[in-house]
Subunit: 156 residues, 2 copies
DNA sequence: ATTTATGCAAACGTTTTGCATGTGT
DNA sequence: ACACATGCAAAACGTTTGCATAAAT
């Protein structure tokens, strides 16, 4: 399959030292693949990416980078607290840098659109839920499901 | 909502006419399989069941009842508004009668335990989220993720 | 040198689908 | 009689895993 694949000598944008440090934070090894995956998340900013979208972003520079490697890298990042994983519960799960501001999501059950919600709109409720359930929700992220304005107008 | 709210006996009574009517509500056909699946949900009360648990419950009386049929029946019930489906976002999805009181769930990310949360603990937040996002969350159900008391104690 | 990470393929569990047969209405 | 529902097997889906190889420390 891969005829001539030569290992690119450390490619394009100079990676910031802090990012390297972050990946290495828990004694992990800095590999070309992890750097690429990390870069994809950095470039995405506060737009979360699915595992598939990470693959798309990364397959330009490294077409042979396997999806399994992406899952493993993302798992590591999540385990190290560098990346946040959100499962929308409709078959989609997405990843974004933990450094982004904490926020919550609203997903349109009709068209799948996703919007962000500020934490302060939600925090008081978290306290009440903690009190009632005895669970700790310290850094909980919520995913709301509803109907977006566009779909509401169309259907309603 | 039913006009006459009879105190639901915990036991499973002979199939009530209202239940038959419910299944038929949208011109659906009342089949043996659907009746069994429905009964499983009724017997479960406010304990939600996974698709697999419905299968287990139903395979006593009808061992040949195929899992695909269960998914199709549950889809129909959900489409007709008789059953509520909740996807916990950790690979588990569960079903319960829509007639049960509306409530929300807290899932322990460590052990998977699930607790219920009353709607009034949460409703004010829903309004704020609606305002901020422009989404409509009328009958939204939330799934919170956190650490249950037992796991919190164990881990520190 | 040692340990960890990768590529690959294969396995996984859940859900969906095409099609022939069977059943409620 | 007819449309609809079922059983079955097979496929789709996203994700995980075992293992030999490769690369980072």
């Amino acid at each position: 399959m891969a005829a001539t694949r030569r290992p690119r000598p450390h490619s394009h944008a100079p990676r910031a030292l802090e990012e390297v440090a972050a990946i290495r934070s828990h004694g992990r090894r800095l590999t070309r693949q992890r750097a690429l995956i990390w870069d994809a998340l950095v470039r995405a900013g506060d737009r979360h990416l699915s595992a598939r979208e990470v693959a798309d972003a990364v397959h330009g520079p490294a077409p042979e980078l396997h999806q399994a490697t992406i899952y493993r890298a993302l798992d590591v990042f999540v385990a190290d607290g560098l990346v946040r994983r959100t499962d929308f519960g409709d078959g989609r799960a997405v990843y974004e840098l933990a450094a982004e501001h904490r926020h919550h999501h609203v997903v349109c059950t009709s068209c799948g659109a996703v919007a962000h919600v500020h934490d302060d709109a939600v925090r008081p409720a978290l306290g009440r839920v903690e009190a009632e359930s005895g669970f700790r929700l310290a850094d909980a992220e919520l995913t709301f499901h509803g109907t977006c304005a566009a779909c509401g107008a169309a259907t309603g």
